[in-house]
Amino acid sequence: MDFMVFQYPMISVQACLDGVLLGILFALIAYGMALQWGVMNIINIAQGDLVILGGYIAYFMYLYGIHPAWGVIVAPVVMYFVGIAIYKLVINKVVDRDLFISILATFGISILFMQLMNFAFGADVVLANSDYGTTMLFNNNVVLPNSKIFSAFISILFAICLVIYMKKSKLGRAIRATAQNARAAKILGVDTEKVYAATFGINAALCGVAGALISITFTIHPYMGLPYTIRSFMIVIVAGLGNLPGVAMSGMGLGVFEEFADYILGTEFRIGSVFLLLVLILVYRRFKLSRKREYLK
């Protein structure tokens, strides 16, 4: 336990700013999860592994001498096709089945990806160095790497583009129609199969962007996927499906929570505290809902 965070206010400011910038990234991943959950009613355990795969794409560009920031453009394109491939091979067979089946199937994909990445890229923790330098704030008491600011900026940009795309384009309208009522959409001539594939592809592309940004700002490792899945799941259940400002807010909240947990409990309990928070949120939600059900008794 370390309570320095309360004695020196600047550390709190640092944690808050770090948390917000980190949370914007989480919100981007969670937005993808909310999209596929809302449209296809699937919870994708492999979400985090798609993020890490996107990160490795950026890392590879860095290894071959290309600036990793270009990964932000390359990773989503590659990941879009990876997502379509996963959809065609696995997801379209579990889409209208029991939810647990889809959880288990994506769990299998997650294990597969984890191990393939471990083979392909090794089990080291890696980072794509972007050389962006740092920004000092408040008399040099708060240090913000420019890469974090860059990543938050890019995330917001992608989120805005996606929202506009969903509002204006034909495919976006089809996706929204399918989310509201897949059967009615089918009757009215929407090719739901195509919509599902596109949704999963867009989700994978978002994961790719987030992964590329994570490889620039933080570190990536083949086995680090599951925490990202859990974080995005948590953000979605707190914010609700289709509530974009809510997703952004709860993403930042989670980021700040994590930074403070990191300072107070120590880094070794960081992931543990995320998972515990998930359990607490679900239990809280259960008691809140059971109060609503009370009159049934």
């Binding site: 919870i43 696995v90 067979k93 579990v94 089945r97 939810l99 647990f100 089946i101 959880i103 288990l104 199937a105 769990f107 299998g108 994909i109 997650s110 294990i111 597969l112 990806f113 984890m114 191990q115 393939l116 471990n118 083979f119 599951l226 859990i230 799941f233 259940i237 120590g266 070794e268 309990f269 992931i271 543990g272 998972f275 515990l276 998930l278 359990v279 679900l282 239990v283 939600r285 259960r286 008691f287 059971s290 049934l296």
Partner: protein, 352 residues
Amino acid sequence: MSISKNNLILYVGILIFGIAAPFLFPAFKVQLSILCVLIVLATTWNIQGGEMGYNSFGNILFYGLGMYLCASVQVGMFFPLAEWTESGGEKTFVHTPAQFFQGMAVGLVVAAVVPTIVAGLIGYSILGLRGHYFAICTLGLGVAAGEISGGIEIIGAGQGFTTPPFPDVGSLDSRGEFFYFLSFFVLVLTFIAVRGIYSTRFKLILNAIRDNEDKAEAMGIETMKYKIVGWMISAFFCGLAGGIMGGLVGYIDSTDVAFDGREMGVFMVLMAILGGKGTLWGPIIGATVFHIFKEGFWTFFLGWQYVALGVLIVVIVIYFPEGIMGWLREKYPERFGEIVDEKDRKAQVELK
């Protein structure tokens, strides 16, 4: 519960085979003990996963808890626990045979009882969740337990916990035999308990919860009570299995051995589904087939085992969700006591 004559012959045959197995296949004693543990895990997972419809990824919590508790009690009864874990691999303390077996006995009791109590305590909050919320919540619970136990100094933190080595009691084979018979005993105990449960009203209530919980509640069944009891039964045997597995492996690591949601936590689900969930024999057959497949693959394709595991999960879940028992049931419905109306079946086939 009544046992028919055919079944009795079957049970006695299996029992005799089980007792003779370590002498018939002396090289596979450890594998056979692991098989027993796997069957226990799959069978108890089936109590809530198959019969109750609550698909849990979190039974690994009880397994890991049992593992740590058994080893800690075994050490802590005679030596200071902190110094033991600090010394790591180097042995400064040695258990005498009497101490080892006493410690193991008390440890197994603790390893069974404490997870049961934990299941009872958290059951009210967790089992109120439905469907996928329950699945993800239990997944989180298992991973959180692994991460947190990996940060606790007294049980070895990140560097792991070496369980007491088997004492020198004469022949070299005695370690394997001891653990085999211990796990086989637990397996028999589990089977008797589960078979007993499945022949009572309790099982029908669990099935009612699976089929429609709200209706079951409306019929006047206190579903929460039965759900918690069902989970506690699972926890009891999972803890026991964990305690044995800890001694068998000889080394406990927080995320790779004890709270190994990625391996053991998925295995138990997979074995039950492979065999056919919601049946008595399904998880047993599933665990056996799975273990043979797994060991074969682990031996011949070392390094690619997780890739194979991932593919296996996807294939089983997509193409084989009813499992072996479900497949047999479709093929030979008469043997399961189902009467098939040939005409009706033909009509249905034509409709398709």
